[in-house]
């Protein structure tokens, strides 16, 4: 039975590690949220501040995801199809959000758009408030979720090659027609996968938004900020309930990712 011991050893160690780090804590938060029944949870998630935080998070996602999708596709096209000197620099710029702490993103935005920042005087003179209000939170969320669509689209574009695009152009299609009728249908699943990742990241962003929002209860408090606020005010029921809402959204994200991955595999198999 040496074979089964060899197999079981790594399996036992690996699964125990996953259970202790991931499985048990996640199961525990569901258990502790619902241990006193549904009523207190429902009560907690229907608090006005919780509802406001939820819709604010949705609003940020609704602004940021379309922006980063359009510009992400544009960046991917430039990286894969463009022929200019700064391509490597563009790739580096795209990776920057992965290397930079969310807190530092928030700070950097304050240094440009804050009251004492580079554009502070100009923005104040024109009555525009960026920091401690929605525009700043949009910028922070867009910064941290910038790379996903482009990163998922670049390899698909590379794989696709330019043959079909060349053919379309030779047959007289304009650049826009070629993109819409040839390129976009071929890259769509890569783009959608990137959109799912962008949505998850935008919904959960905490550090950068924490700095630029000012965390004003019922005003600039997103759902993740609400979780922190409840937790620090010893309202564990409220914190757990809001955390479970976000966890359920994360599970929905995972499910979509898996369905999409299967879909892409089928597409490439055909």
């Amino acid at each position: 039975m040496a074979v089964s011991v060899r197999r079981l050893g790594p399996r036992a160690v690996g699964l125990t590690y996953l259970l202790a780090l991931l499985g048990a804590p996640v199961a525990m938060i569901f258990y502790r949220t619902f241990e006193h029944g549904l009523a207190p949870v429902w009560n907690a998630v229907t608090q006005p501040n919780a509802i406001h935080a939820f819709w604010l998070s949705v609003e940020l996602v609704a602004i940021v995801v379309p922006l980063n999708t359009v510009f992400g596709i544009g960046i991917a096209l430039l990286i894969e199809r463009g022929r200019f000197r700064g391509r490597a620099l563009l790739g580096l710029l795209l990776d920057l959000p992965f290397a930079i702490s969310p807190v530092v993103v928030g700070l950097a935005l304050v240094l440009v758009y804050g009251r004492t920042g580079w554009f502070g005087n100009w923005l104040t003179a024109h009555g525009i408030q960026v920091i401690f209000s929605i525009p700043g939170m949009v910028l922070a969320t867009a910064f941290v979720s910038l790379p996903f669509v482009a990163r998922e689209t670049v390899p698909v574009l590379h794989e696709l090659g330019t043959d079909a695009e060349q053919a379309a152009a030779t047959l007289g299609a304009s650049a826009w027609q070629t993109f819409r009728r040839v390129t976009l249908p071929a890259i769509r699943w890569g783009v959608v996968y990137g959109v799912v990742l962008t949505t998850a990241r935008a919904l959960g962003e905490f550090g950068a938004v924490s700095i630029v929002s000012g965390r004003l209860e019922g005003q600039t408090q997103t759902l993740p900020l609400y979780v922190q606020d409840r937790f620090e005010n010893f309202d564990t029921t409220g914190a757990y309930a809001a955390a479970v809402v976000l966890a359920l959204l994360a599970f929905a994200t995972l499910l979509t990712m898996n369905l999409l991955a299967r879909r892409t595999r089928r597409d490439t198999a055909v």
Binding site: R11, L22, A175
Partner: protein
């Protein structure tokens, strides 16, 4: 990622490049302009402002903010915790990838799907989740709140997928005939793993490790609730920066940010260089 010679040649003779209708060309220019504007407003200007702010007081002021005892303690904790986390990730990430590729057991697909949960879960929720089990009054009977172990645990949680997801595809593609040959020549399974499998996995392990190191250096949301942010004890670099910003000490925050960012970029740069060298050797 550069296009192959064929597509490059095609590109050169592309009618799109030569005889594009005037409207199409100006539309492309407009698109590029918008893109440049977006990236400037979002990334370039803020990062430039960060560097400018760190440099604003000259090198003496920069050095003073970076070498203050609290800043040094925070940076040291961040670097040491990230280093430990990377080693644990490299070991367990490789092991988990191995189990997910080479082993068969009921529920494997669910486990495989759950590996990405730390990427999908908001970081602050990750902190709350860990506290629900390992915090005060939790059923595990231990309380890790406000300890350095809590910092390590939070970092392990959020960086779990990196090594697993970079090793897994390499392991799937790995040709097993080499292992079978070694086995039939009398090598034990550990020898086969160490001499044949591991060398093939090393680039993937390193790249996953580098990504998790960069992530751990800047991690904030999962650490902030669980660690208590006690200066000189559990305060990591990102939390120190946050506190400096809250206290209107922006230049000091920017200086420490630049140090953190430089560390992350050095590690990621080294990874890119290593992987390029590796692929050059492979042909």
């Amino acid at each position: 990622m550069s296009p192959g010679p064929v597509s490059q040649a095609l590109e050169r003779h592309s009618p799109r490049r030569r005889g594009l209708p005037a409207g199409g060309r100006s539309a492309t220019a407009l698109g590029n302009g918008l893109l440049a504007g977006y990236l400037s407003v979002l990334v370039l200007l803020p990062v430039s402002a960060l560097l400018a702010s760190a440099a604003s007081g000259g090198s003496a002021a920069f050095w003073q903010s970076v070498s203050g005892p609290e800043a040094v303690a925070a940076l040291k904790l961040t670097l040491v915790a990230s280093a430990i986390v990377v080693v644990v990730n490299a070991l367990f990430g490789t092991l988990i990838a191995w189990v997910l590729v080479r082993d068969e057991f009921p529920g494997k697909r669910v486990v495989n799907a759950l590996i990405d949960l730390p990427f999908a879960l908001p970081t602050v929720v990750a902190g709350v989740v860990l506290l629900a089990l390992y915090g005060k009054g939790g059923p595990a009977g231990i309380d890790i709140t406000f300890t350095r172990a809590a910092v390590g645990l939070a970092l392990l949680f959020v960086t779990l997928p990196f090594v697993v997801r970079s090793v897994q595809p390499v392991l799937i593609e790995l040709d097993r005939s080499m292992e079978e040959a070694a086995g039939s020549l009398g090598a034990g399974s550990w020898t086969v793993f160490r001499r044949i499998v591991l060398p093939n996995l090393t680039p993937a392990i390193l790249s996953g490790a580098a990504l998790s190191f960069a992530r751990a250096l800047g991690e904030f949301g999962s650490v902030v609730l669980i660690s208590g942010n006690l200066p000189f004890k559990t305060e990591v670099g990102s939390v120190y920066i946050f506190n400096q910003v809250e206290n209107d000490n922006v230049a000091a925050a920017a200086s420490v940010s630049v140090v953190l960012l430089a560390c992350a970029l050095v590690v990621l740069g080294a990874m890119t260089w290593l992987s390029r060298r590796g692929s050059a050797h492979g042909g």
